[in-house]
Symmetry: C2
Subunit: 151 residues, 2 copies
C-alpha cells in the first residue's frame, strides 16, 4: 500500500495500454459525444482527420480505466470513497486517436503537498499522458489526488 509518505517525486509509472476498437469508439460517441467525425465514416473522411477518431472524453476515461486496473496490483492509500475529491487541470487533446491505435497511459509524480486543512491526507500532483504507437503524445493533463498519511 502506497501512502503519502512513500510516494516519490519523479516516479513515473506505465498504467497500462489500450487498443481502441471501432466498436467501443462508436458506442462511447453515440452515448456522450455524437459529433459526425466520431460517428460517421463518410463525414470523417471529409474532415481533416480522414477517418473516425475517438472522443477526447473517451480517451481520458480509458486513462481512468488503466489507473484502476493498475491499482489492483499497486494499491494507493486513496480515499476508497468519502475522502477529498480529486481534481484535474490542463486537459489537452493533442493528436487524434484512430480505430486500432494503441495508447500507453502513464502517470508521473510532480509534487507532494501536505494538506493543512485535512491533516490525515496529503495531495499528490501528477502529470498524466497518453501516447500512441508512433510515440506521439495524444493527450495529457495534470491531476491532484489525495493520499492518506501513514501516521
Amino acid at each position: 500500500m502506497r501512502y503519502f509518505e512513500t510516494v516519490e517525486i519523479g516516479a513515473k509509472e506505465v498504467l497500462g495500454r489500450h487498443t481502441f476498437s471501432r466498436e467501443e469508439m462508436l458506442a462511447f460517441a453515440r452515448a456522450y459525444d455524437p459529433q459526425p467525425f466520431h460517428l460517421d465514416e463518410e463525414a470523417a473522411k471529409r474532415s481533416p482527420y480522414g477517418a473516425i477518431i475517438a472522443s477526447g472524453w473517451h480517451t481520458v476515461a480509458v486513462w481512468m480505466k488503466c489507473l484502476m486496473a493498475h491499482q489492483q496490483t499497486h494499491p494507493d492509500a486513496s480515499s476508497g470513497g468519502g475522502g477529498p475529491s480529486p481534481g484535474f487541470t490542463n486537459l489537452r487533446w493533442l493528436k487524434p486517436v484512430y480505430a486500432g491505435d494503441t495508447i500507453t497511459y502513464t502517470t508521473e509524480v510532480k509534487e507532494k503537498v501536505e494538506s493543512r486543512s485535512k491533516p490525515k491526507w496529503g495531495i499528490v500532483r501528477t502529470y498524466n499522458t497518453g501516447t500512441n504507437q508512433h510515440g506521439e503524445l495524444v493527450m495529457d493533463f495534470e491531476g491532484a489526488a489525495f493520499l492518506k498519511r501513514r501516521f
Copy 2:
C-alpha cells in the same frame, strides 16, 4: 450559426438536464471507473457516500452529451473536425451524484480571445457547471473552445 463575433461575454445557457439512472451509472463504472463505491451497493453503503455514486468522468461526459444536443438547435461555428482542439482546466467534482439525481448543465462565456496564430479562429473561454435538483453544484470546469470568425 453563432460565430466568434456574435458570442456575448456573460451569456449563460442551460445546455440540458439529465437524470442519472442506476443502470447507466453501473455501465459507465464497469467500463471505465470500477471503484467499489461506483459499482457495489454494499461497499457504497459502508463508504461515507452511503449509496452508489456516478463516476466523475461520467458526470462530465454527460455535460458533453448535453452540449452536443444543445448545438443541434443552437449551432456554433466550431471546427466540425480538424480545427484546433478544445482544452479543459480546473475540473472539480464537488458533490456526489446518486442514482435518480437530475443534473442541470450550463455554460457561460467568460472571455473572448482573438487568436494570433490562427487568424480564422477565436478562442471562447467558458465556465461550465452541473447542478443537482437541490441546487448544489456537483461539478465545474473551465473550457476553451475555438469558434470560427465570420470574415
